[in-house]
Symmetry: none
Subunit: 182 residues, 2 copies
């Protein structure tokens, strides 16, 4: 059967302290909440934390793993194991941050100042072509995206994101039509 997650268990008073394993769920919940706030205060993303942990600690930590810890969508055992790792790492990150933003970024390992990509402006002609492709197939394969990008002379990634956002927009507008205001 399913394994219960911290987030589900923590609201059941009788299990606030998991008897056998001696895991304090309330403590974990408190830490997870604080972890998120402290992470954001440092201006770090889940991806950055995951990558930095992967570099300094042994195993791999994905963005999803950090996300799941913060949401407590994780078993008590995993949480118990992950908590000290995150605690130690975060304290260290805060320490470097004290010495300046630059030091933190070096500790984290990312490029010091990764600038946001300039917003792309599609020409009306390009949008027309994109829409005609979208009508035929809203979910093009990687190969198709590459071809469309080449035809329009735009960056492949830009075209990929355009299709993501276009699907999103369609979903949002059609949701209103189909189900009426949620």
């Amino acid at each position: 059967g399913d394994v219960a997650k911290v987030g589900q268990l923590v609201n059941k008073p009788q299990s606030a302290i998991s008897g056998e394993e001696g895991i304090n769920l309330e403590e974990i919940r408190e830490f997870a909440k604080n972890f998120k706030i402290r992470r954001l205060s440092l201006g770090l993303t889940q991806t950055q934390v995951g990558q930095a942990l992967t570099a300094t600690e042994g195993p791999a930590y994905s963005q999803s793993a950090i996300c799941r810890f913060e949401k407590l969508d994780i078993t008590p055992k995993s949480a118990q194991k992950l908590k000290p790792v995150l605690e130690k790492w975060l304290a260290e990150a805060e320490h470097w941050n004290q010495k300046g933003q630059q030091n933190l970024m070096e500790f984290v390992g990312g490029e010091p100042s990764k600038k946001r990509k300039r917003r792309t402006s599609f020409t009306p002609q390009a949008i027309e072509v994109l829409n005609s492709y979208f009508e035929k197939n809203a979910l093009p394969t990687g190969q198709e995206i590459t071809e469309i990008a080449r035809e329009l002379n735009y960056d492949r990634e830009v075209v990929r994101v355009w299709f993501c956002n276009r699907r999103q927009t369609l979903k949002n507008t059609s949701k209103i039509n189909v189900f009426q205001a949620q």
Copy 2:
């Protein structure tokens, strides 16, 4: 020509205090940074802040406006004007949050003193149905609320508030905190 923004000016020492207008740019920068952290600590999005401000304060505040304030992509004059508004609102939001997450969400999403919604009169039949749902589950999900609202043909927000109030009443009378958290 272009108008200089706070974010550009604040790093020029000689202009830390804007002479003529007496605007303390450093203070604004400090506040903007803190505002973001405090907003995230409350778990609020820029959109939510904008909408809430639009409801309680006079003019309209878009998500873009909040975003631009946080990034200081705004003229000193605008920043100076916006700062006290945000400061006051955020302090109030934090105050409500102290009293529980539910209160904060009501403050953010609920109708303010401005054009208050007409008080809804539930029919006895509707109250009966609501109570039967409440007995089964005092804390319905957003989806469940939507469904109940549709079944009874009441506004979704009205139903949501009914559950809030019903829980509040129960809490006040029973003294036993059924819902633990907060």
